[in-house]
Every structure is written in structure tokens, then in C-alpha cells.
């Protein structure tokens, strides 16, 4: 039996009803704000379910959902979605392989020049992507890396590596050093300490960094736009851009592609909420 039923009716009960109601009013207000913020997302899903070729009137509700937009999207953009997936997964691997050891070194070792490296990482986040793309295009052209998945993986990793290093390092800073020292005293080498102690202990920050790295590469538009010139290798972001670059007469397939391109973000927000929250608050990973 809950406590409230045992409470003596009167002042206490009366006082608790009013704030309770006020709280629910806040929830209603919050729902309203959320509805406004998420309307474009709703509209994207709604428009994706309209019959092909309806340019004039999209009904406010998808009462008779039509999946032909998705059929067109998959047939025209399916390959690009796979490209995006390969590039994003590849860039997660590259980012983690580079960022995790670096974060460990920056958090634990008294390496000379660590301050400089950290400073460079912070500053690198301020460099406009177009500057990087401008120089990479000419270099990639010489190296034959244009229109290639490895080329995109390497370039896209630049979205994630500084972020991943900073977030994993922030976590490792808070890790008890006694554990690592104990392992070292027991004779474990650097590599063994790193792989069997440090990495398992930092699991949460690694997952957070990996998820965000995936999202950054998946959302990449700049390098897709500048480092590919043919439709051989074409991430889905560029596919959408080319859809809307011309006059659009079939919004339902554009919106269906947009929905498909949003799936990673939606899945992560629903299933990996705690990691996403950790990533958005930056260094405050606990």
C-alpha cells in the first residue's frame, strides 16, 4: 500500500495536490514545445508516406500510407546508403584506433609535448571544413584517392578524431590510477595494461565516442560533396543534395530517402540515450 493512502486527509493532502497538478501542466507545456521542435521530423515521415508524384497537397495525416516513395528511394539511393554505411563504419574503426591510445597517453603519461598536442586538437575543431576540403581535393587528386571509400573514410575521420580524443581523455582522467599502477607493478606491459585494463574500464566513453563518430561520418556532406566527382562512390547525403538540387517533383521519394538517412540518429537516440547524453555534455562523462 502506498504512503499517500495512509496520509491523514486535510492540509497535507491538499497541499500536495496543487503542485502535482502544476507539474502535469509543465508536462503538457513540455509536450507542446517538443511537438513544435519535432514537427519537421513528423512532416518528413508524413510526406514520405504520400503517394508518388503528389506535389500539390500533402495531407496533414498519412491516413492511407503509400510506400512507393520508399520503393523509389531504395532503388535509387540503396547503393548510396550502403556506401554511407561502409564509410561510417570504416571511419569508426579508424577513429577509435587512433583516438583511444592517444587519449590514454594524454591522460596518463608525462609525455613531453602533450600540452601542445591537446592545444592542437582544440584548435583543429575551429578549422573550417572547406579549408580542409580545398587542400585535400588537390592532394587526393594526386594520390588517386578521389571517388574512393578509403579516401572518404580517412577524410570523414577528421570529424570524429578530435572529439573522440577529448571525450575519452576526459573519462580516463577520472579513472583511478591505482588500478593501472597495480597492473604495471604486477609486470603487465604497456600493451597488456592498455588492452586488458584501460580499454575495458573506459567502455562507456569508448561507446559514446564510437556512436558520435558514426553519426558524424554518416552526416558528412562536405567531403562527400568535394571528394567525389562521379556516382561510383556517393554517400546518401550527396544523393539527397542532388535530389533537391534540381526542381523536385517527387517529394515523397526525397522524404523517404531523408527518413532512411535519419534512421541511425533515431535508433541512437532511442536505444543509446545514455551515451548520447554523455556525448552532448562533453567532458562530463561519468
Amino acid at each position: 500500500m502506498s504512503l499517500s493512502t495512509l496520509r491523514v486527509p486535510g492540509r497535507t493532502a491538499g497541499a500536495s495536490v496543487a503542485p502535482e497538478r502544476r507539474r502535469w501542466w509543465s508536462t503538457v507545456l513540455a509536450l507542446l514545445f517538443l511537438a513544435i521542435m519535432l514537427f519537421p521530423v513528423y512532416w518528413m515521415i508524413n510526406a514520405s508516406l504520400q503517394p508518388n508524384g503528389t506535389t500539390l497537397q500533402t495531407s496533414w495525416l498519412p491516413l492511407s500510407p503509400d510506400f512507393s516513395g520508399y520503393a523509389t528511394a531504395v532503388s535509387q539511393q540503396g547503393r548510396n546508403l550502403v556506401t554511407s554505411l561502409l564509410v561510417s563504419l570504416g571511419s569508426v574503426v579508424v577513429c577509435m584506433a587512433i583516438a583511444a591510445p592517444a587519449a590514454y597517453a594524454l591522460a596518463y603519461f608525462k609525455v613531453r609535448g602533450a600540452g601542445v598536442v591537446l592545444f592542437a586538437i582544440l584548435i583543429s575543431q575551429m578549422i573550417p571544413g572547406i579549408v580542409v576540403a580545398n587542400a585535400l581535393y588537390t592532394a587526393y587528386n594526386d594520390l588517386g584517392l578521389l571517388n574512393s571509400i578509403p579516401g572518404l573514410i580517412l577524410a570523414d575521420s577528421s570529424h570524429g578524431i578530435p572529439f573522440a580524443i577529448l571525450i575519452i581523455r576526459a573519462f580516463m582522467n577520472g579513472m583511478p590510477s591505482s588500478v593501472i599502477e597495480a597492473a604495471r607493478v604486477d609486470g603487465a606491459g604497456h600493451l597488456r595494461t592498455f588492452f586488458s585494463i584501460v580499454l575495458p574500464l573506459s567502455r562507456n566513453s569508448l561507446i559514446t565516442a564510437a556512436l558520435f563518430t558514426f553519426l558524424f561520418s554518416w552526416s558528412d556532406f562536405l567531403f562527400a560533396l568535394t571528394l567525389t566527382t562521379t556516382d561510383q562512390v556517393r554517400p546518401v547525403t550527396l544523393g539527397i543534395f542532388q535530389y533537391i538540387g534540381a526542381y523536385v517533383n517527387d517529394w515523397s521519394s526525397v522524404m523517404a530517402t531523408a527518413v532512411l538517412a535519419s534512421i541511425p540518429a533515431i535508433i541512437l537516440l532511442v536505444l543509446a540515450q545514455k551515451y548520447i547524453a554523455a556525448g552532448t555534455t562533453g567532458g562530463a562523462v561519468k
Binding site: L31, W43, A107, L166, A170, F194, S262, G282
Partner: protein, 323 residues
Amino acid sequence: MSVTADLSRPDHRHVVPGARRRAPGNRGGYRQRERIFQWLFLVPAVLYMALFFGYPVAKNIVMSFQDYTTATFFTGEAPWVGLQNYVSVLTSSLFSRSLVNTALFTIGSIAGQFVIGLALAVFFRRRFPLNGILRSLMLLPWLLPLIVSSAVWRWILDKDSGALNRFLGDLHLVSTGVPWLTSTSLALIAVVGVNIWIGIPFNLTILYGGLQEIPDELYEAGSLDGATHWKAFRHITWPMLRPVVNVVLVLGVVYTLKVLDIILGLTNGGPANATQTIATQSYSLSFHEFKFGEGAALGNVLVLISLVFAVFYLRASRRAVDE
């Protein structure tokens, strides 16, 4: 993104006591080996940063003094032209337009994102059912690929059948479709509006985090002195939040300055350059007109502007830690 790492806080630098059991004569060589091993952990990151951030910045500086065009790719020759790229870029009529647009876009976006983000952050400090889940769902616009958001808003803002015009029409606020993205006077406002929508979640999250750090006792003490609502905000919340505010604003400016996706997706810089910014103009110089030298020169101007704010950022984040 939102990493507010600090440089001033002393690191947990642990001297790993592995050398203890070695013979004293061996110590020097062991230390050296140890140091090399430690550096090896850092080497891949340093190499990557040098290749994908250091090299592009350096290469851009070099290119900005060269006549670097498509011909360069075939002949391998890029003649030195001194400051000519800078002169032609900075004196073109388009530059002043882009500069003004960049300023308006940045100030408008930041102001909108910040005010709405702060208002929502204060609102979400209330305790009410479902607070956590509703707040985290607010993040969605920020997690979507920017080009997806651009595509969706293109459709919402469509002149003839967009949802916004239909909504306004149903309310009898407008009689004909408003050309949000195709009118030279409205396009920049529409682009700013979309960018505000994208930036609200980031501002909300960081500011909410900052608000949570303010101890409740301050408000309790304040309310005894009659500081409630607006007064409490002015005299308690705002001063306590200042360090976080500084970081959010400077980061926001730096990220907004380099925005490309949203503008290219919504208007492609048009109509008639009404939404052209320094970033989009640099892109179009390099990748549409194939004047890579001029594109590099304009890109460097953007780097310079960002660097000014980067200095602010470093000072703000250092202060955020000190306080």
C-alpha cells in the same frame, strides 16, 4: 561538438612505477624505452592531425599565393601570383555581401538559438513527470544529418505547397504563398530560422547542464531575501551561468561561421547571392569556378576570423574552469 576541455587544469599525470624492481644501472635505458613506448601511443594521432589538419592549413596558405586552377592538375604548374588572389577576392563586390551575410547569419542564429535554448533550459529545471525523456527527445533535430534537415525544410518552406504557407493560409494570415527561399529579402531570414531550429538542442543541453551545477541552496537563500523568478534569474542564475554561457556562445559562433550544408541545401547561396556567406563563396570559387587559389585565399580569411573567436574560446573555457 561540445567538448569543453580545458588546458589549465593540471592533468592526472601518473608516473608509472614500473622501474622500481630493475637494477639501478639499468634505469636510464629503461626510462628511455619507457618514454618511447609512451610516445608510440600518441604517434598515430599526431600523424593524423598533421596530415588532415596541419597539412591542409599549410597547403591552403601556399595555394592562396598561387594561380591554382584545373590546369594545375594537368601541367603541375601553379605560378606564384603574390597577393593577387587576396586582392581580387577582397575587392570583389561579392565579398562585402558575403561578409555582411556571414555576420547576419551568425549573429541571428546565435541570438535565436541561445535565447530559446536558455528559456527551454530554465523551463526544464522544473520537476515534472517525463522531464528526462522529453528533454532528450529534443535532441533529435541536432542529431539528424544537416542535409536531411535542409531537405525537410525545403519542403516545409516551399512557396506553393509547403506546410508553413498552408498553415499560414489556413489561419488567413497570408493570401498568397510566401516565397521564403526564393525571395532575396526573405531567404536569409528563412535560413537563419532553420539554423536556429538546428542549434536549439545544443544550447539547451549545455545550458541545462550548467544550470544543474548551481546549488539549490543559493535559490533557497535568495528566496528568503525576496529574490524569486526574474530577480532570482538576474542575481543568481545569470552570474553563476556566465562561464558556461561564454563557452556556448563562442563555440556557437565558431561552428556557425563554417556552416556550409544548411545553406547549400536550402538555397545554394541564392537567390542572387542573398544567402552567400564566406564559407559558401569559398566553396563555389574552388569547386564551381575551379579557382582553387582564390578559394584558398577566402578560406584563409575565414580561418582568421575563426581564430579570433578561438582565442575568446580558450580564454572563456579557462575562466570557466577557474571559477
